[in-house]
């Protein structure tokens, strides 16, 4: 697989879901006491990759390097490629720059630094290989919208993606979003004739794991306007799939004068479009021998007509649905909490069988009897007082959990103090914060070094320094 695919992990400046609370860059957010970027790399390692390119920004390169060094020093050759931080530098831009630096030699496995997955890469690769795909996208189940999210309630309208799949091969026929479709989902008739049975899914999210043909990079170079892989490159490739190759640049000779009357058809870039179409055909051209083999083969991806296999399309996009296995992106507070809850399960899946991860660090000091659930993790140097109960929670390093504190369903980062009788439930408490005596927190977000006085009660609130200033 290493020779076939080159792994690229994009850890370049995407904003952290907790940026309001804590300035840690996203790749270094702690999930179950590991930096977030540890998970995709560990997944690659598990799937047989011993080298990977990690794209980082200048400012975070050193930190990330240091954070990863203890885990992968002897196991994986990580090549860090740093780009200076700048606005509007999307995922596609990063790939394009990599390509221009001649770093890329094979087909690509691109993944984002915030992917936590234990899907079998072999299956994804097989889907890619079977159809000699141009692009294979992994889709995950979107988080259920009724999950309780800590912090102040914000009404967020979430736009669902609409993906039409051919049910047998999982070829992506149409990708759009609810906002684009508005009242009606429009489907060209010829597509329905070709793919008369379509599965339309809305609860799927792009998991930011892509297998790409190398020529896609040439296409990116040819189309400098594409900046994001997810929102621009993929929809574009999905649409371009259905072009017929035989089609020469369609001329529309006499109607150019009518632009004022038909603005929606006569785009000014029409001629260049045609030009681009031809260029894409050239870039995406398949090996002639392979075409010949396919032509002579009995196999076809569809039945009921005499059309060529794949209808002669040289661009083919497929979707791998991570319906059963675990796959998620940590890009929202909700998924951050969810990921922390799932950490024990994930670590078991990702680590080699003999690793036997320790959920409670040997350096934890227990002062008396306390209940710690098997689904909780406690970091090094933390003291846990008498009669403390910890359930389904992740507790960082050097924390102090005082007597009779109760912590459930929460994420407590490093150096946090929970005083006697403190209750923390369903919350995220950032580093250095203090939860006062007998204070109760329910579904709250507590910012960096935030002090909560004794006997306070908060429910579904975001507590940061700014609020503090305004309140007192």
């Amino acid at each position: 697989m290493v020779a076939e695919f080159q792994a690229v992990v994009l850890a370049y400046g995407s904003s952290s879901p907790l940026e309001e609370l804590i300035p840690t860059p996203k790749p270094l957010l702690q999930i179950g006491n590991f930096p977030l970027i540890y998970y995709p790399l560990q997944w690659l390692l598990k799937n047989g990759f011993n080298q990977a390119i990690v794209v980082v920004s200048d400012s975070t390169e050193r930190d990330i390097f240091t954070a990863l060094a203890p885990f992968f020093e002897n196991e994986m050759a990580l090549e860090f490629v740093a780009f200076p931080e700048q606005e509007e530098f999307g995922t596609a831009d990063a790939l394009r720059s990599l390509h221009k630096k001649k770093k890329l030699k094979a087909d690509l496995l691109v993944l984002s630094c915030d992917v936590i997955a234990d899907i079998c890469l072999q299956d994804v690769a097989n889907l890619y290989r079977v159809h000699d795909a141009s692009l294979t996208v992994v889709y995950q189940k979107a988080l259920a919208s009724d999950v309780l999210i800590p912090g102040a309630k914000t009404k967020k309208h979430h736009d669902r993606e609409i993906i039409a799949l051919e049910p047998v091969s999982n070829r992506v026929i149409l990708a759009t979003s609810e906002a684009d479709a508005e009242e009606f989902l429009e489907m060209p008739r010829f597509l329905l004739m070709r793919y008369p049975r379509l599965r339309v899914r809305t609860a799927l999210q792009d998991a930011h794991i892509y297998l790409l043909k190398k020529w896609v990079l040439d296409y990116l170079v040819a189309e400098p306007a594409i900046s994001s892989v997810r929102s621009e490159l993929i929809p574009k490739l999905v649409r371009k799939q259905h072009r017929s190759k035989s089609q020469k640049s369609s001329q529309w000779p006499t109607l150019s004068q009518q632009q004022q009357q038909h603005p929606h058809r006569q785009t000014p870039s029409e001629m260049t479009n045609n030009h681009q179409g031809e260029q894409l055909d050239r870039i995406a051209a398949e090996d002639e021998l392979e075409l010949l083999a396919r032509d002579m083969s009995m196999w076809s991806d569809h039945q009921g007509d005499m059309a060529d296999t794949y209808f002669g399309n040289s661009i083919r996009c497929y979707a791998y649905l991570a319906d059963e296995s675990f796959c998620m992106r940590v890009n929202t507070i909700a998924s951050f909490c969810e990921a922390n809850r799932q950490v024990p399960r994930i670590l078991q899946a990702l680590l080699p069988p003999n690793a036997n991860p320790k959920f409670i660090h040997p350096g934890v000091v227990f002062q008396g009897k306390s209940q710690v659930g098997a689904d909780s993790m406690i970091g090094e140097g933390t003291t846990v007082g008498d009669k403390v109960s910890i359930k389904k929670s992740i507790i960082g390093q050097n924390c102090r959990i005082a007597e009779k504190a109760k912590i459930s369903n929460s994420v407590i980062m490093d150096d946090v103090t929970v005083a006697e009788n403190g209750h923390v439930q369903g919350s995220v408490v950032c580093s250095g914060a203090v939860v006062g005596e007998k204070s109760e927190l329910k579904d709250c977000l507590v910012g960096l070094r935030f002090d909560i006085a004794a006997d306070c009660k908060f429910t579904s609130d975001t507590l940061t320094d700014v609020d503090q200033l305004m309140e007192y």
Binding site: A142, E183, P196, R197, V200, A203, K240, R243, Q251
Partner: protein, 779 residues
């Protein structure tokens, strides 16, 4: 073998498993409520038309018996008595000692029903339904196993009382031959429980739209157009009352759409069941008649094959089955040198003459085929005689016809019962002839046409005499118009008719021209003979370029002229007022004028567009200002079209009406270009045709398919056949040498016109080319 199906497993056990009230009922709607098969159905009900020498309804009945139905209700309207007596006289279904002992067949007759909805309302009124029942059409040919679908339906009904119907479909490829082009459905289904969320029937346009509201609260739906819907529905007992409550439901499709629309209010749901195996098809038009006949011969409908004791037509003797799908009765006489090539059914007592070749054909009982004939793809029913040296292609020849020596019958010909043609008849493509008996019934019906309802009037049976025949035969054409003077010539492509021309649905050419006749034996004593028939016609008898005789009928009668002026006024007012006159009002005005003057819809469609194209000229005249360039003309036309878009949207919904619009544009352009009265406007209009068509395409008024179809199909004859309205103008102005204004056009004029149409087609060429290319492109 015929009784085989009832011994199927599941049937036996069912008798015990279900109580008395669980008798499985089925309703056969044995009337199509349309005129598809006219003129053959003038005398015989469609349910009794022979398919592979066996009445259609026999297949439906056998199928129902095979799936375990115990009580069958046959609902009929036209020729109900014939169906009733058929059932009673056939030991299999009626009378004592019937072979399907567990099946009772009841015939229900209602003369006042004009739709399937009416039929179900009647059934509701008579309270005939006791439980879940199967609803099918009387033209169903199937061999599928319905048991899983029935089980699924019953299972669902125990949980969900509001599931009123299970639509049974067969999964097929998108271009499966058994899918009738007019019966395409697109379903949106919830995969988990197969509930139908959205139902579209034969959607038109290059884009198919699905409402996104079906995705609300759902994250997984399936769009299916890989299904063949042949109207097998398993209905709950609520269905007939629902029809009664909603008297606007005419068909099953109305019902489904209505239920889905009111789903939130009424809570009723419809599910589907997709079969993976077996054969289902409906003989819903002649194209399907051909397809299904071939499939039966090809044994796709096993066990309903001629050699397996099925068909049990009179005599009940099984056919002998030979290789290459040849079925013949024992007493068939094959003369020396005659060949049954492949896919042939030959009925009892047939005689096939020396050196004759038969392939892909069905020949009924008691037919006599002469020597040296070639019969390919023909359906020849009982008791026909084909004399020697005949060549017969894909056609339907109903019972008792006589085809004289040396006749040539081209594709798509339909001869109704008892027609006699030849010797040396030349029946061109698409001819439909009726005999004396049919002619009587047509004229009777026409006289009777005063009453309400979809009464079909036809005056089109003009008398023609073919070959050396001494018996009269009349030409028959379908038309949906009401005006009996104009309709036979109503220009345009009639899709109703196009479905007759089954040999090429892709190229729907209605050949409306006269049959070239031999002048030798004009039947002078017949009062029906029109004076035009006496004109100079070459006596060669060879097929030649069609001549539009009878031009008189092309000239708009006064009503049409007045109607045209009225709608022109309305439209002009709308354009002048610039949006102030609401489009609803315009539509109302046009519709009331239509009724006032009794104008056929097709004419309305053509006249509206023509009027819009004339408006700029009228306006220019009013303003005393000439439109000097094509650009200016298009600007004006564009202005008018833009204002009237809602009106156009109202009228040009169906493919048929769009075709009318397009042909009307072409007519105007072709005819205006050199009418002196319309200069220089006409020439400029001619220049702008492509832009106009393009604009209408962009606004989704004209569908891509229609344009391409027109382009493919518009042979010169066709354009001439929807020839105008303008003809007399051309005749009087362009050719002053005309003898009389209403005179006929010579071949010369025709050629000139054809050339003009070709010229126009060339003008549209870039657009057509672009369309063809764009078809494949997704952006």
């Amino acid at each position: 073998m015929a009784s085989q199906p009832k011994k199927k497993p599941g049937k036996e056990g069912k008798g015990e498993a279900f109580k008395a009230e669980d008798v499985l009922q089925a309703i056969i709607i044995a009337d199509s409520f349309n005129e598809r098969f006219k003129p053959i159905t003038l005398q015989t009900p469609r349910a009794l038309l022979p398919v592979a020498n066996c009445p259609t309804i026999e297949y439906t009945l056998e199928f129902l018996a095979s799936v375990g139905v115990q009580e069958i209700l046959i609902f009929c309207r036209a020729h109900a008595e014939k169906i009733r007596s058929y059932i009673q006289s056939h030991a299999k279904w009626g009378g004592k000692g019937r072979r399907h002992r567990s099946v009772t067949v009841q015939v229900i007759v209602s003369e006042d029903c004009y739709s399937m909805g009416d039929a179900l309302r009647e059934i509701d009124a008579k309270n005939l339904i006791r439980g879940d029942f199967i609803l099918v059409q009387g033209d169903l040919v199937a061999n599928v196993d319905l048991q899983p679908a029935l089980d699924a339906h019953r299972q669902r009904r125990t949980v969900e009382r509001n599931s009123v119907m299970t639509v049974v479909c067969r999964q097929v490829a998108s271009r499966h031959p058994a899918r009738s082009l007019e019966d395409q459905v697109v379903l949106t289904v919830e995969p988990a429980n197969q509930r139908i969320l959205h139902f579209q029937k034969s959607p038109s346009g290059k884009k198919i739209r699905f409402p996104t509201e079906v995705l609300d609260n759902r994250d997984d739906v399936e769009i299916r157009c890989d299904i063949l819907d042949c109207h097998i529905s398993i209905c709950s007992p609520q269905v007939p009352p629902l029809f009664t409550d909603n008297f606007d439901y005419l068909t099953r499709d109305d019902f489904i759409s209505g239920i889905l629309e009111h789903e939130e209010v009424q809570g009723n749901t419809i599910h589907c069941f997709v079969l993976q195996a077996g054969y289902t098809a409906r003989i819903s038009n002649l194209h399907m008649y051909d397809t299904v006949s071939r499939d039966i011969i090809g044994r796709w409908v096993y066990p309903f094959c001629p050699d397996l004791g099925f068909p049990s037509g009179a005599g009940d003797v099984a056919y002998i089955y030979k290789r290459h799908h040849i079925y013949q009765q024992r007493d068939v006489q094959l003369a020396m040198g005659s060949v049954l090539e492949e896919n042939v059914v030959v009925g009892r007592g047939c005689v096939i003459g020396e050196n004759s070749v038969v392939r892909n054909s069905v020949i009924g009982n008691g037919c006599r085929i002469g020597a040296n004939c070639v019969i390919d793809g023909a359906y020849i029913w009982d008791g026909c005689t084909v004399e020697a040296e005949c060549q017969i292609q894909k056609c339907v020849i109903a019972g008792g016809c006589w085809i004289g020596r040396g006749s040539v019958v081209a594709s798509g010909v339909i001869l109704s019962y008892g027609v006699r043609v030849g010797p040396d008849a030349r029946l061109p493509v698409g001819t439909r002839l009726v005999g004396k008996a049919d002619f009587q019934s047509i004229t009777d019906e026409a006289e009777d046409s005063e009453r309400e309802g979809p009464v079909f009037t036809t005056n089109a049976a003009e008398k023609t005499i073919l070959g050396g025949s001494t018996e009269p035969a009349w030409r028959f054409s379908l038309s949906n118009g009401a005006d009996s003077d104009t309709e036979s010539d109503s220009p345009g492509i009639n899709f109703e008719e196009a479905s007759w021309t089954w040999w090429s649905l892709a190229n729907p050419i209605t050949v409306d021209e006269e049959i070239p006749e031999d002048d030798s034996s004009a039947d002078e004593d017949d009062a029906e003979t029109e004076p035009e028939d006496e004109q100079d016609i070459p006596s060669s008898g060879k097929p030649r370029r069609p001549v539009v005789k009878n031009v008189k009928a092309f000239i708009p009668i006064e009503d049409r002229r007045i109607f045209f002026n009225e709608i022109s006024d309305s439209l002009l007012r709308a354009v002048d007022s610039d949006h102030e006159v609401g489009s609803d009002n315009i539509i109302l005005e046009i519709n009331s004028s239509k009724f006032a003057y009794n104008i056929a819809m097709d004419d309305v469609n053509k006249l509206i567009i023509r009027s819009i194209l004339e408006i700029p000229e009228i306006r220019a005249r009013q303003r005393k200002r000439e439109l000097t360039s094509a650009k200016e003309v298009f600007g004006e036309v564009f202005h008018g079209l833009k204002i009237l878009l809602p009106v156009l949207r109202n009228y040009y919904r169906s493919e048929l009406s769009q075709m009318s619009a397009l042909t009307s544009i072409v007519e105007c352009a072709v005819n205006y270009v050199d009418l002196p009265r319309h200069q220089p406007y006409g020439a400029h209009l001619h220049e702008s045709v492509m832009k106009i068509v393009k604009y209408l395409y962009d606004q989704d008024i004209l569908a891509e398919e229609v344009i391409l179809k027109w382009h493919r199909g518009a042979s010169d004859e066709q354009v001439l056949s929807f020839l105008p309205f303008f003809l007399h103008e051309i005749a009087s102005q362009a050719s002053p040498r005309r003898r009389h204004v209403s005179g006929d056009l010579t071949d010369e004029d025709m050629t000139a016109l054809a050339r003009k149409v070709d010229l126009l087609k060339a003008k549209l060429e870039p657009f057509i080319k672009w369309l063809q290319e764009a078809e494949e492109e997704s952006e």
